[in-house]
Symmetry: C2
Amino acid sequence: MAILVTGGSGYVGLNVVEALARAGREVVTFDRILPPPVAAAELSALPGRIHAVDGDLMDAGALDRAFHAAPIEAVIHTAAVTSGPAREASEPQRVFQVNVLGTIGLLEAARRASVRRVVVTSSGAAYGESLYRPGLMQEDATPVLPTTLYATTKYAAERTARRLAELWQMEVACTRLGTLIGPWERDGSSHAQGVRDNFGPHSQLARIAVAGGEAVLPADECTRDWVYSPDVGRALVMLADAPALPHFVYNLSAGIDWSGDIAAWCEVLAARFPGFRHRIARAGETPNVHYTDRARSLMAVQRFEADHGFVATRDRAAIHCAFADWVERVGRAWHAG
Amino acid sequence: MAILVTGGSGYVGLNVVEALARAGREVVTFDRILPPPVAAAELSALPGRIHAVDGDLMDAGALDRAFHAAPIEAVIHTAAVTSGPAREASEPQRVFQVNVLGTIGLLEAARRASVRRVVVTSSGAAYGESLYRPGLMQEDATPVLPTTLYATTKYAAERTARRLAELWQMEVACTRLGTLIGPWERDGSSHAQGVRDNFGPHSQLARIAVAGGEAVLPADECTRDWVYSPDVGRALVMLADAPALPHFVYNLSAGIDWSGDIAAWCEVLAARFPGFRHRIARAGETPNVHYTDRARSLMAVQRFEADHGFVATRDRAAIHCAFADWVERVGRAWHAG
């Protein structure tokens, strides 16, 4: 039996596919675009078996083709428009169509195919205004006050999935992801078909490093609720496989203090890429590395650990080392692509 | 300058139109169906001037026609699918399309027409799981945990309107309505084009009373966060007219204990309609009056009063008297229609 990964060519999706392929699993990927060649080459070298189906989430026929590419036991639904302000102002309906109606369409297709379980990826962004207040974000106790359309659609998709799971008697679990750092992020705005408007500072720095350039950083570091992307892939597979789902929604992040991480990551990159330089912007100078939001409060991560034994990597040096290995081995071609 | 009322043939919409027409205002109504003849006759006798435009919220051209029927100064957006479980299970995409994409389309049309302000009607249902916990529902402090698709779309429409107001520099206010009791409710499920799946017990009883029948009530009364429907019409007009909007979202309800209200309403109806009888169902007997949900906690109503001076009618005897007057005068034809 295979796992279907929607958005299989995207940032979260590629990490899920890698986790599955590394474990020798059978995978069907579904995305508007086929996996980028650099990723396809890496993933095909792993023991798993991958079928890539290209199609639009809004196309029920294309979805059904994906569900018939192999017998599907569970779906990990990562397809989404990760919208920034410009896209939200210019095409708000499209953001809703893909992120909410697309999730409904996916659940409808899963129901037609009698699939056992669907894992829906939501986002810590859903907490919205609460993220800028002190305290840990708790799955049910913290007011969910989404600010952006992206966050609003993520929360709406969560609650919709919960409702349809009840009405249709399906198993659905949901994760609110921290902000991923690590392999397989690319600058969606630089790709013709990109729907990911954010591009995190770690990957921005990796791209500058492989190009042998100079990073000019904002004067004030801005940390986020970061989580290593392979951990996210691994955790989502755990939810697809879990014998039981005691809760509907799980925060999924590292739950650690990341202060000083950007400077530390710059040092790691400088040691690996001799041409790479980095410094803080002078007064009045425009940095060439950007943070995608203000600092956020962290999410509580106890529930995922208590219910499923998942603990994200919390050793920052180990994350930097593994990520830098990936940047050296894959990142040159990836960030050039 | 006129006020545009979307969903102008619906329960909330007719109460808004009546409040405006009573105040001698110019109104454009927009709805898939023209106002029912009984309502049209009542409203046309009031001093205001009403233009009725029929069209679908999902049709941008039809919306533009409504915005050009008269110079529009503000919109009160009440159009929505008020879905029950059967509709949510069978056409979940449609509920989202009308309630969220329809709200986006309405805001886009308002922006094209350079309209000053839009008032969006959300629902206390948005609080969802929190409604069944003790304590008052507070606009920003209470976790919003919508359970049904209806509630999920209402909250999504709120947050979307807030985001687009910010991105597009529009004035938008939002109200979370209590459960309306009073004039202009009809059983949507009994109408071919109905999209209102709920029909409250007060109106069920009024319909039985005008038919001279016997009401068989559930053994346990179930109160809700009720509010008299003309108060809702009046309050929404206050938000459209308010010189400033210190907050984005306002609970809009009566904020009183309604216990014993169904029995009291039965007594009022019995005094006015001699053929009307009412009793509690015997053990094993199926009642012919239904509650549409479990008892809910009440919403805090201080914010609307503090910012805009709005206080709902809290004198239950006065509400019963005014509502019974309406049932005698209009309800016979309305509930037969």
